[in-house]
């Protein structure tokens, strides 16, 4: 009896498997974004209560980091989804979403770096002027 790879893993089974993995990875991304947002909202409220604007900025930075991590998961799901996209319309939509997520990832990373520089500049003591 001949056993071929196609018999062992038919297209429908492969499609189901990849679809499950896509949902799993995308759910991980959504959970990361959700947890980051909830934690940030709680910390934002605490910073508002203390009227601490520096703490407010650093919480925003941590939320941006969570968003970037969630975006990485969603981009991974997009890459997986390309394996089972049957039509050009779906591939076009996928390309648009992947482009948006990549762009947003780039923008967020730039903002995080800028914000980190600002926080470092505020927290590090300035050198004393020479006598």
């Amino acid at each position: 009896m001949d056993l071929y790879a196609l018999d062992l893993l038919p297209e429908s089974a492969l499609r189901t498997l990849v679809d499950t993995m896509v949902r799993l990875v995308e759910a991980c991304g959504a959970v990361v974004i959700m947890i980051g947002a909830v934690v940030a909202i709680v910390k934002f409220v605490a910073a508002l209560g203390r009227r601490d604007i520096e703490r407010f900025s650093s919480v925003r930075l941590s939320l941006a980091r969570f968003l970037v991590l969630g975006l990485e998961f969603q981009l991974a799901a997009d890459v997986l989804r390309t394996a089972i996209s049957p039509s050009f319309a779906e591939i076009g939509k996928l390309a648009a979403i992947a482009a948006i997520r990549t762009l947003l990832n780039y923008v967020l990373n730039r903002e995080i770096a800028q914000e980190q520089r600002d926080i470092d500049a505020l927290s590090s003591p300035r050198p004393a002027p020479p006598p």
């Binding site: 959700m34 900025s57 939320l63």
Partner: protein
């Protein structure tokens, strides 16, 4: 799916509330605007993970554009008008 959509609405409402509270407490528009846009972005990303329609994609594109444009123009204006 509806859980994620509801969660994204909650994040958007929290963004508006926190932005207004930050504006009232700190009396500075830039931190208030930034926190609001950050939570809107989180809401848009959550919605995009379950709703792959062109309207959702367009919404996130508009959000990124507004995010860049408004923050940059506001920072420029306030830096210029500062004594």
């Amino acid at each position: 799916m509806s859980v994620v959509v509801n969660a994204s609405w909650c994040l958007a409402i929290a963004g508006i509330m926190l932005g207004l509270c930050a504006l009232l407490v700190f009396r500075q528009p830039i931190p208030a605007l930034r926190v609001m846009i950050e939570l809107f972005t989180a809401a848009g990303l959550l919605r995009l993970s379950v709703d792959l329609s062109w309207a959702a994609i367009l919404g996130v594109v508009v959000l990124i554009a507004v995010r860049r444009l408004v923050t940059r123009s506001l920072v420029t204006d306030l830096t210029r008008s500062a004594p």
